[in-house]
């Protein structure tokens, strides 16, 4: 494996960008899970899919030199702006508004794909991730965006933390809630856009939330959640990349199945440990009392 990586530059690109995505994904994901916003990630990723479809359409029917991933990136950022406004419009349909945008974006992408005659290997890669799609330029962009996301999270850490746990107190103490929230949704859109190549559009949100859910099971403080989440995500990304290379599987699918297995394993082990210890809630203890 190591030899192959040294030999093939496309594998280097895939692994390096996988490591970067495996780092920023869960970092943003922690706030998504804690604030219960994972549906926003899902919606934005489907909006990005319609961007990719539009890009495929332009590529196949109008102008040649255009990379669908960048069109997807533009769409997912535009989608972030739109979703933010939508919350204000449909105050009383909030929980329906996201599924409606999600479904419409998917419908649009399907129609655009059929217009572009785009049902092929490439589309499969955008949907479910692939090892060969990452070029040197893509890697540079992933690195740039990863840096940007990391800097923003470090700068806004206190504000994000405060808003996540004490929203009202945060607002009264003068934190500009809407601005912060808006910046956060933009960051989510950026992470989704750069994860498209490796993990695939349909699996991005799983990759952002599953390691965090596993981390939440073990962590004893908020900062530990980050550590565990990044650890789990790196394990699943790296193992997933290796397995998908050897067995020729869809990269994103393998990564996500591994992340899910890790989460299930963590829950199981935790249950076993509490059971063995005989937690105060277990029926045996209650009967003794």
């Amino acid at each position: 494996m190591i030899q192959d990586i040294i030999q093939f530059p496309f594998l280097q690109n895939a692994f390096l960008s996988g490591i970067l995505i495996g780092f920023i994904g869960p970092v943003i994901g922690v706030f998504l899970v804690v604030r219960r916003l994972s549906l926003i990630a899902d919606t934005l990723s489907h909006v990005a899919l319609s961007g990719v479809a539009a890009g495929l359409f332009l590529q196949n029917k109008v102008v040649q030199p255009i990379n669908p991933v960048y069109v997807g990136m533009v769409f997912s950022i535009a989608g972030a702006l739109f979703v933010e406004n939508l919350r204000r419009w449909f105050r009383y349909y909030q929980e329906l508004s996201l599924p409606i945008v999600l479904a419409s974006a998917t419908g649009l992408s399907v129609v655009l794909i059929s217009l572009a005659d785009g049902v092929n290997r490439d589309l499969f890669g955008y949907l479910f991730g692939s090892l060969i799609a990452v070029s040197r330029t893509d890697l540079m962009i992933v690195a740039l965006i990863a840096l940007l996301v990391l800097v923003m999270v470090v700068l806004l850490y206190k504000e994000l933390f405060y808003l996540a746990f004490e929203e009202e107190a945060a607002v009264t103490s003068g934190i500009p809630k809407n601005t912060i929230h808006f910046v956060f949704v933009l960051l989510v859109a950026l992470v989704i856009a750069v994860s498209m190549n490796i993990v695939g559009i349909l699996l991005v949100s799983a990759m952002m939330t599953l390691p965090v859910a596993a981390g939440l099971q073990l962590a004893k403080s908020f900062k530990q959640v980050f550590v565990y989440a990044v650890l789990f995500s790196q394990v699943s990304v790296l193992t997933g990349l290796v397995l998908s290379y050897y067995f020729d599987l869809a990269t994103g699918g393998t990564i996500v199945v591994l992340a899910a297995l890790l989460l299930a394993g963590v829950i199981f082990v935790k249950k076993m440990v509490t059971w063995a210890k005989g937690s105060p809630r277990s029926p045996r203890k209650i009967r003794q009392v």
């Binding site: 219960r36 994972s38 549906l39 489907h46 349909y93 929980e95 329906l96 599924p99 409606i100 999600l102 479904a103 419409s104 998917t106 419908g107 649009l108 992408s109 399907v110 129609v111 794909i113 059929s114 217009l115 049902v119 092929n120 290997r121 589309l123 499969f124 949907l127 479910f128 695939g200 349909l202 699996l203 799983a206 939330t209 599953l210 859910a213 067995f247 020729d248 599987l249 869809a250 994103g252 699918g253 393998t254 990564i255 996500v256 199945v257 992340a259 899910a260 989460l263 299930a264 829950i267």
Partner: protein, 285 residues
């Protein structure tokens, strides 16, 4: 148009399947929206994709099972998914928030891995993801018809009980309705409806077809029965228009159907917004 539709039996089958799906999906969808189960419907549709993947695998290895195994496994897995979500919700209350993303990602991840492992089935996978009414087989059609009858009859018989359990579970329990059984029955109905919808509009668009017409109907602000009526109207309209448009312009049928329903929703939304504004104006004067 009429002639060419009557001429091709596969188009007849597509249209009939579409009409049946368009009837039962909003009927179930009204309850899904009222009980805020749209995420559960997403889980069920993804589980049925997992079932389709397993079914294709069985079909590849045992060739005489191939035409039957895919829809049947799709339905079985959808039911299993629905029962899993329902069971997990009951057993571990705080666990449901984890169970849903876990099931979602396991099912789609596993189906992707299975499909990529079988390879050469890409085109098939796409038709299950995005739906292809024009590729509906005879088995699919029969299954849809059967499901349609079951769903209609069940909703007709248990309408009152379901309504009560949906809006006031405690009261329903007191008045002697077996709430748990109704819940179970409803989840089963949802699962079989979704599994036949997957054939028509595809895994990724099932929730949309279930929810968007209902959301449009809810905006009319009428009673529950009228909302059901409007929802059926909107969904049949989007299916018929979507099919006709997709046939003429050679577009993917599932996507076109959803886009038509979105246009309907936005129209109703804007019309109502204008109407409200006008009435507020006159009210102020």
């Amino acid at each position: 148009m009429l002639e060419s539709i009557l001429e091709f039996s596969f188009i007849q089958r597509a249209l009939l399947t579409g009409l049946i799906v368009g009837l039962i999906s909003p009927l179930v969808g009204v309850f899904v929206v009222a009980r805020r189960l749209s995420v559960v419907s997403e889980v069920v549709s993804h589980m049925s994709l997992f079932g389709i993947a397993v079914g294709s695998l069985v079909g590849v290895s045992v060739s005489y099972l191939a035409p039957v195994s895919i829809p049947v496994f799709g339905m079985i897995f959808a039911v299993i998914g629905a029962l899993l979500v329902e069971g997990l919700r009951r057993v571990y209350r705080h666990f449901s928030e984890l169970a849903i993303p876990l099931l979602l990602s396991v099912s789609i991840g596993m189906s992707v891995v299975l499909f990529s492992w079988m390879d050469g089935f890409n085109v098939n996978l796409f038709s299950y993801l995005f739906g292809n009414l024009l590729a509906v087989s005879r088995t699919d059609f029969n299954l849809t018809l059967l499901t349609g009858v079951v769903v209609l009859v069940t909703i007709f018989i248990f309408y009152k009980e379901m309504l009560m359990v949906t809006f006031d579970e405690a009261f329903a329990r007191i008045s002697g309705i077996p709430a748990r059984f109704m819940q179970f029955l409803f989840v089963l109905l949802m699962a079989i409806t979704i599994s036949v919808m997957v054939r028509a509009v595809g895994v990724m668009l099932v929730t949309g077809l279930m929810i968007i017409p209902v959301a449009a109907a809810v905006q009319m602000e009428k009673g529950f029965k009228q909302t059901m009526g409007y929802a059926v109207l909107f969904s049949e309209l989007s299916i018929i228009l979507g099919l006709v448009l997709s046939y003429y312009f050679d577009l993917a049928s599932g996507g076109t159907i959803i886009l038509v329903s979105t246009v309907l929703f936005v129209t109703v939304f804007l019309a109502r917004k204008m109407g409200v504004r006008r009435s507020v104006h006159t009210g102020g004067v």
